[in-house]
């Protein structure tokens, strides 16, 4: 069985069909590339072949490169191995592009057309870009684009160089720098592909084009004499402004922490100044440097490989299929309403309960508002809206819960209230129903005491806003059984989010790490560190929000509430008195955060954030000598990372992949690092211990290196080797 096969018809048209055995989607491997190379050679050498159609035997063209191939190239050959491998790819694609034509006269080549039945991503588009024409089937579900940047690399098989020369730097930027994907019509409008035809006519049209193609149709603009880059090359007056702006925008947007965006832009700039083949070599060198950068390894690992593994149930216990058919959601506040929407949108029947009918109705109306927004953006049809809303029953009547196989309780964070709900629910649902609580602060094992079936009681912690956030944290209480975990995982899979499963402990995993991050930021303000430095330092290390902005968003009174509860639980060992001084004072002044239009930041009447609150400087004057940027960053990062390590040490986390994926998706932990454990592997345990020792000496025991980290430093270990997971069949 091979990935590529070729047949030649009586008109001399060779059709090369990509159809990787035993996969639903084509991905490119080194073996596949070699096969393709051989077939192209054969077709070009065969005098009976007039032209070539390159297409797919599947409903889609291709999903991209097999990222494991890249990992293997790096492991086996280092930089040289990658560079040589990439240059071989360039040679093959360049051979397709020149198609046997005389390099001087540009005549005598054989037309090669890419016929795309569906999705074409990454190398699945770079390969067509080397062909002479790209025709796509009119398939609205198809996605066409170059999403490499999303996992920390960039299109490195000529896609960068070809697209920039085809569209110009400005027009190519959204596809390269943002990984923008389009449907075939959008791709045609954007200039990436040449033609969209009805699906049934794809191959016929491709053949027609090949039969009618003239020599000039095969010559790429950049191979023709007098080529000028659309929009201007870097030292053309218009191009100059584009490139000046591009550097600034990319730098500002990436805060300088994502090597791929920088490398991409450098490849574009340097490539624009030289002939095409030299540009490919430049692209290969930058691409190699990105693949050799530990950040790209970490990003691919967390954002692609491990995210997918977790979504496919890497940590799902053995249990029969637990697909949810009817979910009962108790509490129609912001969280409950959001959970109702994502559930109904995934085709699950929803009963949305609140104590008052109008509250329940308001919860359902939230779904309507999201769907209306979708209609106005033409992402949702009115039929689809009716269908989704039709699945939601908003009521006060608990008996409506009969037949539910999953309950998600999202009522007020109060043990007593939650216990009452648990009892009321269990009185009406069937014996197999799983009960999940969406708490963010209360221990699952304590809440489970109110349940008659604690083995069917579990925590499912959603993040706000539910429809936007990608992560769901599943919490296994002391008595939670495997079927409950499987149920939660199957449910999360249905609503197309990424799950992590953690054990029950204070604040579970995500909040456990976020709270110290916020606290460290506030503590610095109390110490006289300029608040702007705190916020900027966070962003410069890749955090999406500075700690002060984050606490404004989540609300300062919630912070006060958590602090009080934590203090009560910890007694004398409570370490955050300095933080509370600031936090409580803010709350006392009515500065409760964004919702109050007043917090660490000022807001205008419309609630738009203006700048840091001026009163802050008066109450906590900035010290004359400010700490350097890196020490502020170390404090902010270590505050989170050490909690992750402790969570692992204590068995709250059982899989570092979940620790990393959860951190990046849950609270945006420096995605360039792949997550807290990815970051520790990048800097090394020994360096991490050094930082901890220094921070502990100057800022206190909260930075003391955990024993696990010290042990790893002593042994020179990496997290992803010490805690390597054996791949489980997904």
């Amino acid at each position: 069985m091979t990935d590529f096969t070729m047949t030649t018809d009586t008109d001399g048209i060779a059709t090369i069909t990509w159809d990787v055995p035993e996969k639903s989607m084509n991905v490119m491997s080194l073996v596949g590339f070699a096969e393709l190379d051989g077939l192209i050679d054969a077709a070009l050498a065969d005098a009976g072949v007039k032209g070539i159609i390159l297409t797919s035997g599947k409903k889609d063209f291709a999903g991209g490169m097999d990222l494991n191939v890249i990992a293997r190239m790096r492991e086996e050959g280092g930089a040289e191995g990658i560079f040589d491998g990439v240059m071989r790819m360039h040679q093959i694609l360049r051979k397709i592009e020149r198609a046997g034509m005389d390099p001087k006269t540009l005549k005598g080549g054989k037309p090669i057309v890419a016929a795309l039945p569906g999705t074409a991503l990454g190398i699945g588009l770079e390969l067509p870009l080397s062909c002479h024409r790209i025709i796509a089937a009119d398939n609205a579900r198809a996605k066409i684009g170059l999403p490499e940047i999303m996992v920390g690399i960039f299109p490195g098989a000529g896609g960068t160089t070809r697209l920039v020369r085809k569209l110009g730097a400005m027009m190519a930027a959204p596809f390269l720098l943002e990984g923008k994907l389009s449907d075939p019509k959008g791709a045609k409008a954007g200039g990436i592909i040449d033609e969209v035809v009805p699906a049934g006519e794809l191959l016929a049209r491709a053949k027609e084009w090949v039969l009618n193609a003239k020599d000039a149709d095969l010559v790429k603009p950049w191979d023709a004499k007098g080529y000028k880059m659309p929009g201007g090359a870097p030292y053309h007056p218009a191009g100059f402004m584009t490139f000046v702006g591009a550097s600034a925008m990319v730098h500002g947007k990436t805060m300088g922490v994502y090597p791929a965006a920088k490398a991409l832009l450098s490849a574009v700039y340097e490539g624009a100044l030289v002939p095409f083949d030299t540009a490919l070599k430049i692209e290969a060198r930058w691409f190699t440097s990105v693949l050799m950068n530990p950040s790209s390894t970490a990003m691919i690992r967390s954002l692609f490989i491990n995210k997918e593994a977790l979504e496919k149930g890497a940590n799902r216990p053995e249990a029969p299929d637990q697909t949810v058919r009817k979910v009962g959601i108790i509490g129609a506040g912001m969280m409950g309403a959001g959970i109702a929407y994502v559930s109904a949108n995934a085709g699950i029947e929803v009963v949305l309960i609140d104590a008052a009918q109008d509250a329940a109705d308001r919860g359902k109306a939230y779904s309507e508002s999201i769907l209306d927004k979708g209609i106005s953006r033409r992402k949702v049809t009115p039929e689809k809206k009716a269908e989704v809303l039709g699945r939601i029953t908003a009521t006060t009547d608990y008996t409506a819960l009969a037949g539910c196989d999953l309950i998600v309780e999202a009522v007020f964070e109060d043990m007593k209230v939650k216990a009452d709900v648990t009892a009321k629910v269990e009185a009406v649902v069937g014996p197999d129903c799983i009960f999940a609580t969406n708490t963010s602060t209360l221990p699952i094992s304590d809440l489970a005491k109110a349940s008659a079936r604690p083995d069917q009681f579990i925590g499912i912690h959603f993040f706000s806003p539910v429809d936007k956030m990608l992560l769901v944290e599943i919490i296994r209480g002391k008595e939670t059984g495997d079927r409950a975990v499987a149920k939660a995982l199957d449910y999360v899979r249905q609503i197309r989010k990424t799950p992590i499963v953690v054990n029950d402990a204070r604040f579970f995993y995500a909040n456990r790490c976020i709270i110290p991050y916020i606290n460290e930021g506030i503590r610095m303000v109390a110490e006289g560190v300029a608040p702007a430095l705190v916020e900027n330092a966070a962003k410069l290390v890749g955090m999406p929000l500075g700690p002060l902005q984050l606490v404004d968003e989540t609300s300062i009174d919630l912070g006060v509430k958590i602090a009080k509860a934590t203090k009560l639980a910890m007694g004398d060992t409570y370490p955050d008195g300095a933080v509370d001084t600031v936090l409580f004072a803010m709350a006392d002044q009515g500065r409760l955060g964004k919702k109050a239009n007043a917090g660490f930041y000022s807001y205008d009447e419309a609630g738009k954030r203006q700048g840091l609150w001026e009163g802050l400087e008066a109450q906590y004057p900035a010290a004359d000598v400010q700490p350097d940027l890196s020490s502020v960053q170390q404090r902010l990062l270590m505050a989170q990372v050490l909690e992750a390590v402790r969570a692992l040490e204590e068995g709250v986390l059982t899989d570092i992949r979940e620790g990393d994926v959860g951190a990046v998706l849950g609270w945006g932990f420096a995605p360039w690092s792949g997550g807290p454990f990815g970051w520790l592997d990048i800097i090394g345990a020994a360096r991490a211990v050094e930082i901890c020792d220094a921070l502990a000496a100057s800022h206190g025991a909260r930075f003391a290196a955990p024993a696990l980290l010290r042990d790893m430093a002593a042994k020179g270990q990496q997290f992803y080797t010490r805690f390597a997971q054996q791949p489980k069949a997904a």
Partner: protein, 403 residues
């Protein structure tokens, strides 16, 4: 060590650097030749009288390209045995030409030089020579590149200068320049530009706006706010480099930044023997020269460290300096200089500066050395320091002493 002396310093009047500016009809080479001829005529230079012409110029493309110095020599009435060296240290090119000449003389390489520069900003647009630091992503990101106007606004933000302070400095520059012209203080140095028929093209600095007041400046829109805050968002880059700042205050505009003008200047520098041989009297000794590199993002703070360096190198202190010329590239540059050294504003740019009269990039460094010398002579003072901020984060300075 051989001493280097200034024997003469001349400049053209500065024309508006626009198509309707008075000097716009002249080529860069012609304006250069014009001022070189003035030096030749005023000092009776014949044959291989000087070792070289070192000519500062920033935008060395088109008519300013191709070793403009050599072209200028050949178009002038100087002897063809005098070669010509075109140099570029951005805004300090004219000063660097003087410093290079002085240091070669001090080192024994030749008896005399003509050093100066030219910039026809209305004919060869600033930036039209390209600049990797702005456009090459590897370099732009490594250096946190922002345009100069943003850098000037970073200085204002970092050191706490307000729009009012900047505008007040601009108003004072205009007032002093107008007063200096009215009193004829530039008469000895400004050589009117004449056409081939001897008809005057320009005999005064035409960029000046005498009578400019706070109210007039208050109406001007900040020039760099949009590029900083909106497209492409340079403030974000500035804050990445200066993360303790929350935002950049945009205080600079056309009225408190240097003017875009055409102009040229030349300084005749030689050793003592040259003076004796030509019957010329030295006016001042070039006591010290210095240059330095600084952070390229804030870019324009160079006058402070380069002044510290030149004082240290020459064993002097700030109180030894009687008068200062600090190029008014942007108001905040001068405000920062005065703040750092706590000098009396009356001693800094006493006859106005580039905000009032304009800043012909390649020439300004030579212009301010001449202006400084004139004022030392007029006031009977001894020692002066001239300094400029420089693109990409540099600074240059010269100390002169009357003899």
């Amino acid at each position: 060590m051989t001493e280097a002396y200034i024997y003469d310093a001349v400049r053209t009047p500065r024309g508006k650097g626009r198509p309707d500016g008075a000097l716009h009809e002249l080529t860069s080479v012609a304006l250069s030749a014009n001022i070189l001829n003035a030096v030749k005529d005023r000092n009776g230079l014949q044959g291989h009288a000087v070792e070289d012409v070192i000519w500062g110029n920033v935008t060395q493309v088109g008519e300013q390209g191709g070793c403009l110095a050599r072209s200028a020599v050949l178009l002038s009435e100087l002897d063809q045995s005098i070669p010509g060296l075109a140099i570029n240290r951005f805004c300090a090119s004219g000063m660097e030409a003087v410093n290079l000449a002085a240091n070669q003389i001090r080192g024994g390489a030749g008896h005399a030089y003509i050093a100066g520069g030219v910039e026809m900003m209305g004919r060869v647009a600033m930036g039209s020579d390209g600049a990797a630091i702005a456009v090459d992503p590897s370099l732009a990101m490594k250096t946190y590149f922002v345009p100069q106007g943003i850098s000037a606004d970073i200085i204002a933000t970092q050191y706490g200068f307000t729009r009012d302070q900047a505008d007040a400095l601009a108003v004072e520059s205009q007032r002093r320049a107008a007063e200096a012209w009215a009193a004829g203080r530039f008469a000895n140095s400004v050589v009117p530009v004449r056409d081939r028929n001897g008809l005057t093209i320009l005999d005064h600095d035409e960029y000046m706006r005498p009578g400019t007041d706070m109210q007039a400046l208050g109406a001007l829109k900040a020039s760099f706010k949009d590029m900083g805050e909106v497209m492409p968002g340079f403030d974000k880059i500035a804050l990445m480099k200066y993360p303790h700042l929350e935002r950049i205050e945009h205080i600079h505009h056309a009225g408190n930044s240097s003017g875009i003008v055409d102009g040229a200047a030349a300084v005749l520098i030689g050793n003592a023997e040259f003076g004796r041989a030509h019957g010329l009297k030295p006016r001042a000794r070039i006591r010290a020269t210095a240059k330095i590199g600084t952070d390229p993002t804030i870019m324009l703070t160079g006058p402070v460290p380069v002044t510290e360096k030149i004082l240290k190198d020459s064993g002097m202190s700030i109180s030894d300096i009687d008068l200062f010329e600090v190029n008014e590239a942007f108001a905040s540059v001068v405000l920062r200089f005065m703040q750092a050294f706590d000098v009396d504003p009356a001693k800094v740019n006493p006859n106005g500066g580039s905000i009032a009269m304009g800043h012909p990039l390649g020439a300004t460094g030579a212009i301010i050395i001449g202006t400084l010398l004139d004022e030392l002579e007029r006031t009977g003072k001894g020692t002066g320091l001239a300094t400029l901020c420089i693109a990409s984060g540099m600074g240059a300075a010269t100390i002169i002493e009357r003899v």
